[in-house]
Each structure stands twice: as structure tokens, then as C-alpha cells.
């Protein structure tokens, strides 16, 4: 789930809006009647849950206090996002091969971000520079480009929780670790097996997964798996 996506997107706009409607319905409303009530309850995102409230607080752009509006606008367009974002923007479910489409300027913005990240002393975007939606756009671009993920991850961690959404950082780190042949640690990355079933990518220390996910502002592990398999 990547937050509310715009309907003005080009090319795959219909797919994106359909995807947004599907994902939104899976989060806020209990899932379809074909599933049992028990499973439905387990797969429901409750707006009053601590992790959702934490994201809502972080995602609040209502003060319009970011410093670089043109960069923010360019980031949102590149990621195909429309602000403001609704919580949860990040549920920590990334299924390989099922990534949402980005905007037509994604490639150009990805290169710009890579340049920023690798230039010593450059102003890497943070929430104070491009707002919460702008930072989520950075995440969406980084998760689609291993080269950007490599350089952005360090910058996002270094910036700290006021400037980067911890749930985005955690999800991106999982993806990056897998790309490096390591195991994920949060349980946010899924793959499709030969039968088309969604399966969890290799993970280490699942015993402490819920503690980690709580610290990162992600939903409980069980809920994450449930959402991924919907």
C-alpha cells in the first residue's frame, strides 16, 4: 500500500486508480464476504491502531512548512502520487512483480536523487524540505531502483525519524538486503512462487519481528502477511 495515488497519471492511470481503490478497500474496510469473519478481522487495518496513528502524525502535511515546493511537486509527479497522503501510507507489503507504476518523469528524478545522494554536502531531501508526501515519493522511487536504494538508504537512516518515515526506511532496507543476497529483517518483502502464491522472502530472526515492526511503525507481522496474501 503506497498511500492515495493520483488519477491524473499518464499511461497506466486506470491501472493505478484501480489498484488504489483495491488497496484502500482492503485496508479500511473489512475484506470480502468470501473470507471468514475471523480472517477478515485479522486482515483489517484499524485507524485507531498505534502504528496507523503514528504514520498519520508523521504524514500530516497540513502546516505546509516544507521549504522546496518545486522539488516536492517534481517528486510527487515522478512517483505518481497525489498529496495529501492518508495513513497508512506504508503497510510494509512489497510483492515482487506487483509494483505500482511510477510517473513518466521517474527516471529523470531517480537520476537527480542519485546525484544528490552521492554529492558530498548536498541537501538530501527530508520532510522539512519536501514534506511527508515528498519523502514517501523518494521511497517509491528508491524501491524501484537498486542503485538509488543503495545510496538513499544511508541518507534516509542518517536523516533520522523526524525527516524520514521509519516504516519506509524499514521496508526499503528489507528490499535492499534481499538485493544484496542477505535476508530481510522486517518481513515486508514477498515473492510469487511457481503457483502464483504470495510467499515471504527469506527472513532472519522472525522471533523478534513484531518488536522490530512496532519500532518501525509497521503493522504486526501477522497482519502484514495477511495483507500480502489478499
Amino acid at each position: 500500500m503506497r498511500g492515495k495515488r493520483g488519477e491524473e497519471g499518464r499511461g497506466s492511470g486506470a491501472w493505478r486508480s484501480g489498484c488504489a481503490a483495491l488497496l484502500l478497500s482492503s485496508l479500511i474496510v473489512s475484506i470480502g464476504s468470501a473470507q471468514s469473519a475471523k480472517k477478515s478481522a485479522a486482515c483489517t487495518v484499524n485507524p485507531s491502531d498505534a502504528w496507523v496513528k503514528r504514520q498519520a502524525e508523521w504524514l500530516d502535511d497540513s502546516k505546509h512548512d516544507w521549504k522546496n515546493d518545486s522539488l516536492r511537486t517534481a517528486l510527487l509527479a515522478a512517483a505518481g502520487l497525489t498529496a495529501p497522503l492518508k495513513a497508512p501510507a506504508q503497510v510494509g507489503v512489497h510483492v515482487e512483480g506487483r509494483e505500482p507504476a511510477l510517473g513518466p518523469t521517474a527516471g529523470e528524478m531517480t537520476n537527480q536523487l542519485k546525484s544528490l545522494a552521492t554529492t558530498r554536502g548536498s541537501a538530501w531531501p527530508g520532510k522539512s524540505l519536501v514534506g511527508a508526501a515528498g519523502m514517501h515519493a523518494v521511497f517509491l522511487l528508491a524501491e524501484r531502483d537498486t542503485g538509488l536504494a543503495r545510496v538513499a538508504l544511508h541518507r534516509l537512516m542518517e536523516a533520522g525519524p523526524d525527516e524520514s518515515l521509519a516504516a519506509d526506511v524499514a521496508t526499503l532496507e528489507d528490499q535492499f538486503r534481499l538485493s544484496q543476497g542477505r535476508k530481510q529483517i522486517q518481513g515486508t518483502q514477498f515473492k510469487l512462487d511457481a503457483s502464483g502464491h504470495v510467499v515471504l522472502a527469506p527472513m532472519e530472526d522472525s522471533a523478534h519481528a513484531d518488536m522490530r515492526r512496532e519500532g518501525s511503525g509497521l503493522p504486526p507481522f501477522k497482519l502484514g502477511i495477511c495483507l500480502a496474501r489478499q
Partner: protein, 242 residues
């Protein structure tokens, strides 16, 4: 007479190594959390920054820095009382420094007033942390809040010596070896200090061999960073004479 003395000498000679070992053992302090209360702050350490609590890991009680509740610039509760306990009348500089830079969770060991030479080791297990996963040994803690730390960072896979002076962190030396560690597994960080010589090991693999600008003298403890979730156990100190 000879027959009476001989058994006495034999028993004294036999006891000598045991006595020496006992003396060494007496000097060595190994912290156990077995008698501590789960969910409470440790009695053996004074948490200055961060949420340090005793937790249960399997059948053991361990010390846990809980980064889930980390907030930027927030000292641990009761800081003034703890600083007074550690430094008496000289506690105000310490409090000021800690408050000015409450970014790095630290807990000061209460069992040793002044560590100058010897070894310090601690077992640690990384549990989590989105931004950091740091486990460090704190040493050379001065009454004004300055200190040194050798730490492992699980987000960078490295062991680094940092110095903190007047609330400002400065990189000193990075061990050349990158060592990725799995979360949920126990490892040992160890340092030895003899005069200005500092050496460090991670799981017995040499990391640092560094010369400090001045000898070490101060309190010791454990260190972490921002939202790290780390479990510590078997904090062991082997002080040696100069």
C-alpha cells in the same frame, strides 16, 4: 617435624594457583541480571539516556535498550538523582552535557568508579531498529559528560571508536573489517586498554589496535544509538593495575 611440614608445604603450594585465580576472579566483575526485575530499570547500571529495562530472553534476564520508545533529546527518568549518585556534588556539568546531547542512549555501570586499565566485554544481541542497531562499550566517562565508545553498528556492519566532547560526537577510528551479523544472534564485543593502547575484538576477531591521545580514566557502561533495540548480557570488567 619434617613429616608435619611437608604436607603443609604441599597444601600451600597446591593452594597457591587457586589463591591467585581467586584473586583474579575477585578483581573481575561480571554482571548478572538474574536478580533483577523484568520491566524495571537495572540496579547495576544507571540509565542516563534512553529506556533501559530488564527483559526476559529465553530463560535469561538481560538488559534491553528499547528503541521503540526513543525520543530525540530525551534523557532517562530521574537523571538528576542518578547523576548525583554517580558524581556527587560534581553532577551538574554531567547533567548539562547529557541533556544537551541526549541522542545516544547510555547506561553507566555502578560497580566501578574509575576504570583505567584492563578489559571490558559485553555480549549483545541485535533485536531491531529502523535507523540504527548499535551496541557499544562506554568508557572514559568524565564528570562533565565527555566519554569514549567502541560500538558495533548493525546497519553499517562495522566497529568504530567515537569520542564525545562537550556534547559533540567525533569519529576517531573505524576497524577495517566489515562484519555483517544476523539479528537475533548473540555476539561479544571486547576492548582492552593499557595506558594509551586500545584494542577491540568482535567475537574474538581483532578490530582495533589504536593509540589514544591520552590514558583512560573514568566510569564505564553500555552505549547505543537512537532507535536501536539491543539486548546486553554478561557485562564483564577485568581491571588491571597500571
Amino acid at each position: 617435624m619434617r613429616s608435619a611440614i611437608t604436607p603443609l608445604l604441599v597444601s600451600l603450594l597446591a593452594a597457591a594457583p587457586a589463591l591467585a585465580q581467586s584473586a583474579t576472579a575477585d578483581a573481575t566483575k561480571r554482571v548478572s541480571f538474574a536478580d533483577e526485575t523484568v520491566g524495571r530499570e537495572p540496579k547495576t547500571f544507571a540509565p542516563m539516556v534512553g529506556s533501559w529495562v530488564i527483559t526476559k530472553e529465553g530463560d535469561r534476564k538481560v538488559l534491553f535498550i528499547d528503541g521503540r520508545v526513543w525520543r530525540r533529546g530525551q534523557p532517562a527518568g530521574g537523571l538528576a538523582d542518578k547523576a548525583r549518585e554517580l558524581y556527587g556534588a560534581r553532577n551538574e556539568d554531567f547533567i548539562e552535557s547529557i541533556r544537551a546531547f541526549a541522542y545516544y542512549p547510555i547506561a553507566v555501570y555502578k560497580g566501578i568508579d574509575n576504570f583505567e586499565n584492563g578489559e571490558i566485554s559485553v555480549r549483545f544481541q541485535m533485536v531491531g531498529g529502523a535507523l540504527d542497531r548499535c551496541a557499544g562499550i562506554l568508557f572514559n566517562v568524565k564528570p562533565n559528560g565527555d566519554y569514549l565508545t567502541v560500538r558495533y553498528n548493525g546497519t553499517e556492519d562495522n566497529v568504530v571508536l567515537w569520542t564525545f566532547n562537550n556534547g559533540v560526537r567525533k569519529f576517531v577510528n573505524r576497524a577495517p573489517t566489515l562484519t555483517p551479523l544476523e539479528l537475533g544472534t548473540w555476539h561479544t564485543l571486547r576492548i582492552s586498554i593499557h595506558g594509551t593502547s586500545l584494542k577491540s575484538w568482535l567475537d574474538d576477531k581483532p578490530m582495533h589496535d589504536y593509540t589514544l591521545p591520552a590514558p583512560v580514566s573514568g566510569k564505564i557502561g553500555v552505549w547505543s544509538k537512537t532507535d536501536s533495540m539491543i539486548e546486553f548480557d554478561d557485562f564483564t570488567v577485568k581491571p588491571e593495575a597500571k
